[in-house]
Symmetry: D2
Subunit: 284 residues, 4 copies
């Protein structure tokens, strides 16, 4: 995999942003391998993402940040630059359903997901063997009605210890406390097993079956305090019919869940997802 820097910018829209940024890059010989722009005309906001060959620039990230600072201030940019050699640290959280975990671990092991997985945290012990076979530490933190505060203190400690910058709720069937949502804002990715905003909350496939829909879906979104209401990263669906009982929907839905979650996580890892308000710009 090529060594690249990824520059991600969001700022109020006006004439000259692209010129200023691309001039800056060209001045230092920066070779752009991928560039994406988006003007949100409603919000008058501009979004921009560049991948630049690291070895085409005469300096590293720190110097880049210093040199680019004045431009960022001039245009009131919300921006970041990341290095493909500094892999994101992603903690996976799960409960008992293993389909998303098996899928993510395969993609990670095969090199498709360019990240580190310092550990897995679960409220059950069921997936220990699977996770440990992949050489990843497994922490069992039971969550009960009466120990939630202590449990999430321990979860938070483990996340900090792992120096994680991303949490993935891979069918983790517990509600994340508001404080944790807030601390890891736009860094916690959940897969909800419905085509949101339909069927919020528990047992969405049973709700779908009850309503008699002809498509079921899954939604990958950032977790916010309000349940199942955070910014949507990706969604997909699969066709069902009268022959499918709720249990069949559960089975068919698994395939959609795992592919939507894997896609959303890959985009997050590659800094392709920009959040604005409660929506996302995804430069996929």
């Amino acid at each position: 995999m090529e060594h690249t820097y990824t520059l991600v910018i969001s700022c109020p829209d006006r004439v000259g942003i692209v010129a200023k940024v691309s001039n800056f890059l060209a001045m230092y010989g920066g070779w752009i391998t991928e560039a994406s722009h988006h003007s949100d005309l409603d919000a008058n906001q501009f979004f921009m993402r560049h991948e630049i060959r690291a070895d085409s620039l005469p300096f590293g990230l720190e110097e880049f940040r210093t040199a680019f600072g004045p431009i960022a201030r001039e245009f009131e940019m919300n921006w970041r630059i990341t290095d493909s050699n500094t892999r994101k640290r992603v903690v996976l959280m799960c409960s008992k359903d293993s389909h998303c975990m098996v899928d993510l671990l395969y993609r990670w092991q095969s090199g498709e997901l360019n990240c580190d997985i310092p550990c897995v945290i679960s409220n059950h012990d069921d997936m220990r063997s699977l996770v440990e076979w992949h050489g990843i530490p497994y922490h069992h933190v039971p969550v009960m009605k009466d120990n939630k505060e202590a449990a999430y203190a321990e979860v938070e400690r483990l996340i900090e210890e792992a120096q994680a910058d991303t949490l993935v709720l891979a069918r983790y069937m517990q509600i994340i406390p508001p404080a944790l949502c807030d601390k890891y804002r736009h860094q916690i990715i959940n897969i909800h097993h419905s085509f949101l905003p339909s069927f919020v909350g528990a047992k969405p496939y049973h709700q779908a079956w009850e309503r008699g829909v002809k498509l079921i879906g899954a939604t990958c979104h950032y977790v916010t305090e309000e349940l199942d209401a955070g910014p949507i990263i990706d969604q997909d669906i699969v066709r069902v019919n009268h022959r499918h009982a709720a249990q069949d929907m559960v089975r068919l839905g698994r395939d959609v869940e795992k592919s939507v979650l894997a896609r959303g996580l890959a985009w997050h890892i590659q800094d392709r997802v920009l959040v604005h308000g409660n929506k996302t710009v995804v430069f996929s």
Copy 2:
């Protein structure tokens, strides 16, 4: 097109239904060209649809009904038999958006939709020329805040005069009065421009844009008193992204709306849709 009878049955499930019905048909030499069965294990209800070559039977519909009566009673069947030579009479209702109308009229004219369209009723006069070019009478029945009762009395008169058995709301942007819903129960087909149950009611594409979903959809359903809550016949979706404004969703959604409505109507015309509770069995 071959001359066929379509026999549609719904009854409590028990052993021997298929044997009884297929024996009856075989006894008279009935040649089955298509057969579909479904056992709803939750509801303990059985659903069945046969297409039979008309010329393989020694009698017509009336005699069939008489001969089959005892079996129907024995198994407490809710049943009907229709003749492919007796085309359904479908009244189309529309407002100003023409995409569904253009599509349905093309499919009707090209012979893809095997039905009669005795007339079109609209609360606007915009589509008169298009409809009349197809040789179909056009009735303009304005619906205003203060004339609703009179307007729907006129609509009902026109429907009766047309001897219609099916109404299609092809983006007809008015709410059908409960009495009419009731009178034409499971005979009024609507296309809602969202993936129900998301975004019930007005301006669903704007609701979808506001929520930041990554897929938009359309739902073809039977109209019941409760708005957008009737039995769903078919649904489909199209992928959108951050570059699509609400107006783009309106444009993209048109293609989904028209194909979902056309599909739902075709299945209804061919007696492929069986309603049970608030759900459908579709033998597509």
Copy 3:
């Protein structure tokens, strides 16, 4: 999982088949949980599949076969009946690409694939640890230019030893000898990484990239002597664009390959696939 018998029939079409079969079942109290019929009007061939609750019948498979024999002979049926308690024995064959294997093993372990996997055979040793972690024996049978005959003698011996009735080529990158194709006719399932009949043979994604197609696909089919030309069980596609290099197509294609293969195999295991000529009837 309920204990059922699956009765699969193919015979020349004529009046009375369904009546005869359903009468037979009804006579013995057979409770049909799923029934599918298909008349191929071109070939004048009739196809039929029933799932019957085992405990609703007064006898087992042997007695069923005896009792049903006369009907089968009368209608010149090609037929079989299987018992859901007698799981198919499926040998998986693979090379170095692990995506299909990881997926199939997960589905097997989670109970989604109702079959036994007596062993895995590979021409490489790469997946030994993965397979053995699942508790399945792994046989490494290298295939080289000059040992093919001996290698496939060993493969055949292992298959026989495993008492397999189904072989799955889960990205096994070798050509199966004609004699083996013939011996396990309609029992060897392959996943080809293109939307056949486009891009037969080697490196299909590179062929697809070269041609500039906007969709890539995968095809699950029964293996016959003619390469990539056997009866197709299922196909699916994924959208690509100018940003995707051949290598990206390889990556995206993996997800289609694994889901199409898993679907095809599940249908095969459930006796839902009937082959007629070089085509399949799939009662999915």
Copy 4:
């Protein structure tokens, strides 16, 4: 619709292209509403498309071309700039199948396709009434075995008279002579009723049925001398099964054909399609 200029560029890739172009635009106050870039790493070619608010620039197209000339020469650009107020002139050609025509004419009439349609040319007279109802002249130019040269001389004369820059073969079932292909290179759009490169040539649905595929498709491509082998603009598919006869595939395929053609044409009209070799970059 906003008044915009569209600037489309293709050139050898090197550092500084984006900087130069965006600087040029910024210098004159050009407000970019949409920008897309693509680096083809294999071909070392760079592709770029900008939409610019016309009223944000202090000059018109002619002056733009003069001012931009030196940059274009410096970077060896293949480039064009178009004005949204100067609509493309699209001649439609058809035979007897009307589904694509009905669809395109609706989209044109409703304003979805921003182009002029100066006339329709057909080798049959069937669609005269439909076309003329839309207020478009209809030319019937029969094509027979022994008059092809004269017929295409007349076709060419009509195209020239119409000052067309784009031809659409909306199920025009004749082969365009090489000289005409050459004269309107990358300006003739065809819809082929298969998922190319499968089923080239005549009766593709019958070929598909014969092969027993589980998906059928359609391909929108630029016409070149080699039949069905030109650069692909878009493709799509629909699922079929054993119940579908070749005739059903024809019917189902119509919906795919018309939507793929409409999409391809819209992208062409908006200068979103860049051809490089035998492939397309589509900034959709």
